[in-house]
Amino acid sequence: MADLIQLVTNGLALGSVYALAAIGFVIVYSATGVVNFAAGQFVMLGTFAGVTTLVTLGLPMPVGYAGAVALMALFGLLFYAAVYLPLSRSPVVTIIIGTVAIGITLQNAALLTFGSWPVRLTSPVEDMIVEVAGAVIPLHAIAVVVATAVLIGLLWLLLNKTALGIAMRAVAQDVRAAKLMGLRVNVLLAFTWVLAAVLAGIAGLMLGPMWFADVNMGDPIALKAFAATIIGGFGSLPGAIAGGLFVGLAEVLGASYISSAYKDLIAFGAMILFLLVRPQGVFGERIQDRG
């Protein structure tokens, strides 16, 4: 029982990271129709933004984290202005290929900058543990789950209870009609990319202490976030959350109860099963409806 509590907590923590990465992926997809293949690298950059501010520069915790998030916001804006905007009149497929190219570029730029040696990003609650019914749980895992829940709550408030969020949802649904309502579509799309980069960056900051900071961490995360959105439903925020948590739990529980060699089997098996039987996922629309 103690084992199970421990594993479920770790699975939820990992799942929270996947869920945040998947949310970043989904808000970009809903607003622009672009499947962002660089999404995994966004998370990797978040981790290394933290490495830069906290390890390399040695800034105090609050400043370091805020600085890393600010760097990611800047990166999102840059990505919008230098990648999305110049390609925005091209067919969506061109933009998607563009994100693949940028993803590869980012990964190699990180390799050149930070080297191939993994770095340790410590948690603010490093080595602290909580005991629940005999189970030993790292406080970091609990903090990650709580922080993710708070972020999701804030995101919900933003999208439903602010003028900015309602305008963002309008742009996501019909750009032309949004323009005719006087909305500054380009500003709102830029903000969408910034938000996606910030969420991915926070996911990276939380993941750093759970894995090593490694410039190759982006791809596995992108695959998991992708699996999460397929299972949860493409374009659906509740789907991204549910899918992310499912993939995280499946990975941790699978590694422990089946075999660590097959830990990804459940998540990717579920993804393939969903694609075959229920391509719209638990909550979402069918992928081919957008095309």
């Binding site: 003028a163 309602i166 309008a170 009609a177 309502m181 006087g182």
Partner: protein
């Protein structure tokens, strides 16, 4: 000064001349109908006026200010409003949220202000009981009314309506006409109406502009336009105009 003045608007799509040297002037508070057979260029003209499509040549001024090079959202902020021929409500927003998006173009409004402005607009149109419903719960007639409410929330001084009565039943058309009259009286906004329902055009419009194959072929009061041989032949074929003589 004219509320809206378009001068020499020409629009080419490759080899097709969709609009040729079209002039359109709308005075403040005036009700102008834009009619013409299918493919005459009416919707293209609205697209050019709202900046969704750039004119090949021509100038557009709103309240005397040149808006030819402004983006769509800046034209809306400057006082232009437009609805689509085929409804384009935001399907995944509630009724009141749709209207809030319309009101959002005015600077510095908080969510609470937007919500109360939108609710007041809905109440004025008798739609307040649908405020929190999803768009999918509305009847077709009410969807069109919500679209009208949404564009009014933009606070336009010149409102361009692209076939607002399409698909409405007789009772709904009467209701729409009453609303348009009331809106015009209260808000003092000029309306440009594209409409195939001639009864509606004749009863509402002070002036009618007729387009055919991208060219303005007639302009005048509803009675003048109805009697114009060029208009009759455009609608009914060459023989019709001669048959009257």
């Amino acid at each position: 000064m004219s509320a809206l003045q378009a001068t020499g608007i020409t629009k080419r799509f490759g080899g097709l001349l969709a609009l040729s040297e079209v002039d359109l002037t709308v005075d403040p508070g005036e009700f102008v109908a834009l009619i013409g057979p299918n493919g005459a260029g009416k919707s293209t003209l609205l697209n050019v006026l709202t900046g969704l499509s750039a004119p090949t040549t021509g100038r557009i001024a709103l309240d005397g200010r040149d808006i030819t090079r402004l983006s769509t959202h800046d034209r809306i902020r400057a006082g232009l409003g437009r609805t689509f021929q085929h409804g384009r409500l935001f399907e995944r927003l509630s009724v009141i949220e749709n209207v809030m998006v319309g009101a959002a173009n005015r600077k510095g409004r908080s969510e609470a202000e937007l919500r109360s402005t939108a609710f007041a607009q809905l109440r004025r149109m008798g739609l307040e009981r649908f405020a929190d419903q999803p768009i999918s719960a509305l009847t077709y007639g009410n969807r069109r009314m919500v679209e009208l409410t949404r564009v009014l929330a933009c606070e336009p001084r010149v409102l361009l309506l692209d076939e607002p009565a399409a698909g409405l039943n007789t009772g709904e058309v009467e209701d729409l006409m009453a609303r348009l009259r009331a809106i015009r009286a209260q808000d003092k906004i000029a309306i440009v109406l594209i409409e195939h329902n001639m009864g509606m055009v004749m009863r509402l419009a002070e002036r009618v502009v007729v387009l055919n194959f991208g060219v303005k072929i007639a302009e005048g009061t509803p009675a003048e336009v109805q009697a114009d041989p060029a208009v009759l032949s455009a609608y009914l074929g060459e023989g019709a105009a001669h048959a009257r003589h």
